[in-house]
């Protein structure tokens, strides 16, 4: 007489439709969907990305030829650099940096012009005080472009081929005091991960507890639903919310913060699906464990704080002690940050991405399994 219990797509669809409808009528959803990304982008993005110019620089010029001066002039014209001092020794230069009197030291070695015209790709060293990377990021980011443009006139005829290849000079940037330079390009794509983590966990963290507190859980449980149907059904609608957030952030990154987009956006969107699912699964699992909405919120923050601190968003990952790195490796955010930065900034392809992606996927599966196991089918 007992029919065997089975996974029902009709029931799953029913729950998805229900959640979608409720989501559509809930103002909180829209606040989360648009409000949080815009707020965070403004806070993190603009507060940090004030594209500073006229940064004080010192020059250590050992070259006698004209090209060195051409480059310095070009740097000055870019308005990013103001040359406030000319120094003659490295010690002197380092002292200026250490005291914060200059942000950069530009070091043009002896015979720079001669080597350049010979096609030897002479080294040009720029040392930067990277304690406040946001301050130096833009200026450094422009250097290559500035130099190429400046040397265009000098490298004509037989030397033209130099300009086309690796560039005529060997530009070396030393970011001092901060091993992993976090620039605005680093922060804005990172924000995508941070915003998704926060909103996706929070939004689903409330999913089950809300049913409990409104008393509708009793009704839901009195019907023949299976845990997996309820949990998956509650997650799916929020994938769309996640994608809208991704869209908002990508558009803002491109148009407001001019983040370069080197790699495939399609690949990024695919990765985002796994990442969103992982966070939703974590949220829904909290929801099955929490007794009320307050507890669900607290759990959200307990997960969110270490995520943001240990993922490499706040502090350079490699700068953290090994135990912290070990914990950091667990969070989906850590891997997602690497992927996003990799795709957008380095033009990474699926080969590099896979390395991180499987770890996010594993997290999603484990979190979901715990959630389904923990989901109570009775009111006990």
């Amino acid at each position: 007489m007992t029919r065997h219990s089975h996974f029902s797509f009709q029931r799953l669809l029913g729950i998805i439709v229900k959640e979608f409808t409720q989501m559509r009528r809930d103002r909180l959803t829209f606040a989360m969907m648009l409000g949080i990304p815009l707020l965070q982008l403004t806070l993190f993005g603009y507060a940090i990305n004030a594209d500073p110019r006229h940064l004080p620089a010192a020059v250590l010029l050992a070259d006698q030829g004209p090209q060195g001066r051409t480059l310095l002039q070009a740097m000055k014209n870019s308005t990013y650099f103001d040359f406030v001092r000319q120094v003659s020794t490295e010690t002197e230069a380092h002292n200026l940096l250490a005291r914060g009197q200059v942000q950069f030291v530009v070091n043009i070695p002896e015979n720079f012009s001669r080597d350049l015209l010979r096609g030897d790709r002479p080294a040009l060293l720029v040392e930067a005080d990277a304690t406040d990377p946001a301050a130096t990021g833009n200026a450094l980011g422009q250097l290559n472009a500035i130099f190429s443009a400046a040397l265009l006139n000098d490298l004509k005829g037989p030397l033209e081929s130099l300009a086309a290849t690796d560039g005529p000079i060997d530009l070396r940037v030393h970011a001092l005091y901060n091993p992993e330079v976090i620039t605005q390009y680093n922060i804005v794509p990172g924000l995508m991960g941070v915003i998704l983590t926060m909103t996706m966990i929070m939004i689903t963290g409330l999913a089950i507890t809300r049913e409990r507190e409104r008393g509708t859980m009793e009704n839901l449980l009195s019907m023949p639903t299976r845990p997996s149907e309820v949990l998956i059904g509650k997650i799916v609608p929020y994938i769309f919310v996640g994608y809208i957030q991704v869209g908002v952030i990508l558009v803002a990154s491109y148009f407001l913060f001019h983040v370069p987009m080197q790699g495939s956006i399609l690949l990024l969107l695919l990765v985002a699906l796994v990442f969103i699912a992982a966070n939703l699964a974590m949220g829904i699992t909290f929801s099955t464990i929490a007794k009320n909405q307050l507890q669900a919120m607290q759990m959200t923050f307990f997960a969110f704080l270490p995520s943001i601190l240990l993922s490499g968003f706040m502090f350079p990952f490699r700068g953290m002690p090994p135990w912290a790195q070990l914990i950091g490796e667990v969070f989906p955010l850590t891997h997602f940050l690497r992927i996003v930065r990799g795709i957008l900034l380095k033009g990474n392809t699926s080969v590099e991405v896979m390395n991180q992606l499987w770890q996010i996927a594993l997290f999603a599966v484990v979190a979901m399994a715990i959630g389904i196991k923990r989901y109570r089918q009775t009111l006990d």
Binding site: M1, T2, R3, S5, S8, Q10, R11, L13, G14, V17, K18, T21, Q22, R25, D26, R214, G215, T216, E218, N219, L221, S222, M223, P224, T225, T378, L379, D380
Partner: protein, 309 residues
Amino acid sequence: MKNGELIVDVRGMTKHYDGRAVVDHVDLQVRAGEIYGFLGPNGSGKTTFLRMLCGLLRADEGSGTCLGHDVIRESEAIKREVGYMTQRFSFWEDLSIEENLDFVARMYELKKRRQAVRESIEQLGLAGREKQLAGQLSGGWKQRLALTACLIHNPKLLLLDEPTAGVDPKARRDFWEQIHRLAAKGLTFLITTHYMDEAERCHRLAYIAYGKLLAHGTVDEVIGQVGLTTWSVSGPGLPHLAEELRARQGIQQAVAFGNALHVSSDDAAALEQAIAPFRHAPYDWRKIPSGLEDAFISLMEVSKDNFAK
């Protein structure tokens, strides 16, 4: 299911909360096509018992069948054939009437879902208002919506938990008429209620207090089981008389009913002795058959004393 067949047949159902038995070894048998009333004061364990029947709560002890399925192990199968109307309105207030019904229909995997939803809306008499949010409905309409939603999958047994609480008398009468129509078609009902008039509209009843089933059977059987003797007295100054009577040994209750006072006890001789000093003019004493309410109040008083021990 044939008439007379046992739809619910459970024994020893027990549930503890914080070490206290809120449902204490309750046996219950409900036959097919029957309207079974489940009565008892607040907190006596009615809701808990219904929840155990339909698998919403795990029983600590007990065994038996519900619709032929094992009540402990086969709650999935039971859920498919039972309609459970919760004490508090538990449909989604931010979904419309139609969306709620459609959701329920999907949960039970109904084949002709749209048709079932449309028919339900028409039955409800809410055609044209189906887009209204459930949260905006009045208490009476919420109750009707809940009942309709519980019926959409053609259950064989309906568990209704105080379905008429807070509903006006006209709506209550309509509701009971609908229940009787459905029962005539073979549906079985287990209904909890506080109202005496509703109790008397049930085919059989059970009375539960402090988790214990104290009496069960037809109205007459329950009254008989309590074995109460009741006198009705009318005359001037009844509230004062009631005070005096309550203070005497041998009187269990003295309750005002309109212009009369019902005085009862389960010891007929002691009662007669106790009222003897007052059996004179201007009072008019008459022995009457005990009512259901007298019986229940007596049951409650006795069980309160027992529970306090």
